[in-house]
């Protein structure tokens, strides 16, 4: 059990330190203009990366599977102005059905 506790405590401290590093180093200072320009593009870049890895990643491999079908259904629902939560449910149901059948 000692291994587990060491991993938990070190992971917790490391995660907190990673999140805290920016604020501790910067305090309340504004970022330099050039860095702000980069930061302004961080959200689209990170979101795209998160979507791709969660859609196509599986155990360290690129995988095309039922998740893409679910995403397509959600995309179509959004184009037809469905509420975001409706799109989420449609995507989940599509994937759940596909996993039952396949």
């Amino acid at each position: 059990m000692t291994t587990l506790w060491v991993v938990i405590l070190v992971t917790a401290v490391a995660t907190a330190a990673i999140k805290a590093a920016g604020p501790v180093l910067l305090g309340g200072r504004r970022l330099p203009e050039r860095l702000t320009a980069v930061v302004s593009m961080l959200a689209p870049a990170l979101l795209a990366g998160l979507i791709v890895t969660q859609m196509l990643g599986r155990e360290g491999r690129l995988t095309l599977d039922e998740r893409l079908l679910g995403m397509a259904v959600a995309g179509i629902a959004l184009v037809f102005r469905a509420h975001v939560l409706v799109a989420v449910v449609l995507a989940a149901v599509t994937v759940a059905i596909a996993r039952q059948l396949l």
Binding site: M1, T3, L4, V6, V7, I8, L9, V10, T11, A12, A14, A16, I18, K19, A20, A21, G22, P23, V24, L26, G27, G28, R29, E33, T36, A37, V39, S40, L42, A43, P44, A45, L46, L47, A48, G49, I51, V52, T53, Q54, G60, R61, L62, R67, A74, L78, V79, A82, H83, V84, L85, A87, V88, A91, A92, V93, T94, V95, A96, R99
Partner: protein, 241 residues
């Protein structure tokens, strides 16, 4: 550009209300609902690995990071060592470094108060609180994280108590919830950020696809941050005021 209805808890209308915390909480609710189930799953999984119940719950309270915690469980469950487990978690969470730098100027108080507030940075809340041109809404960030924190910690506790029996929630398609919600946030960013945002997102997607098969989990998303460098080119709208 697609005309997509974003009238949701995360609609732009609500973004500038004075009560940002409450609006943030509402925006965080869909994420929180999915997080409860993931938390239960984590609790159950950790029990199946023979973890001390207190360790599982404390892990969720202290680290509050689904991706890192599932990675640790996977590594230890497969008989991996202490260092491998810690390294996997650190790599997965390394993206919080640039995200923390981004929000730092918008938090409140001195360095340590800001460092404490930055603990509320998680993918969903950070993206929800993004206001374009590199600006962030602090109250919205804190509000969006609050229900998700309760959901993750509470879910883990429930899972530990249940011990077994709910099975893999992905059989219900739960793994679609975050990507679809992230997609709606991305569409909002693309609308606000124009062509540069589209280039950044496209580059990031290419980087992620290229690195996914050849790097450790966490590296692709971290490397995507480099795509934000397009912000340095062709600054047509200026970089904030």
């Amino acid at each position: 550009m697609l005309d997509i209805n974003l009238r949701s808890p995360m609609s732009t209308d609500e973004r500038h209300t004075s009560d940002g915390f409450a609006a943030g909480m509402r925006a965080g609710m869909p994420f929180a609902l999915a997080t409860i189930l993931l938390g239960i799953y984590f609790g159950v999984l950790s029990q199946s690995l023979g973890w001390d119940a207190a360790a599982s719950v404390l892990f969720s309270i202290l680290t509050f990071s689904g991706s890192a915690q599932f990675a640790v469980a996977a590594v230890l469950g497969a008989g991996g060592g202490t260092m491998v487990a810690i390294l996997a978690a650190v790599i997965l969470n390394a993206r919080f470094l640039p995200m923390g730098i981004a929000v730092a100027p918008y938090l409140k108080g001195g360095r340590w108060r800001r460092a404490l507030e930055a603990q509320a940075v998680i993918d969903s809340s950070w993206a929800l609180a993004s206001r374009g041109n590199g600006r962030f809404d602090r109250a919205y960030l804190l509000g969006a994280t609050a229900p998700q924190a309760v959901a993750w910690m509470g879910g883990t506790a429930v899972g530990v108590l249940i011990g077994d029996g709910i099975g893999d929630p992905n059989r219900l398609g739960l793994d679609m919830v975050f990507p679809v919600l992230f997609l709606t946030l991305l569409i909002g960013e693309l609308k606000a950020g124009g062509r540069r945002a589209m280039v950044a997102a496209a580059l990031a997607a290419i980087v992620a696809i290229a690195l996914l098969p050849i790097t450790a989990p966490g590296i692709p998303v971290l490397a995507c941050c480099a795509a934000a460098m397009v912000g340095l080119y062709g600054r047509s709208t200026g970089a904030g005021s």
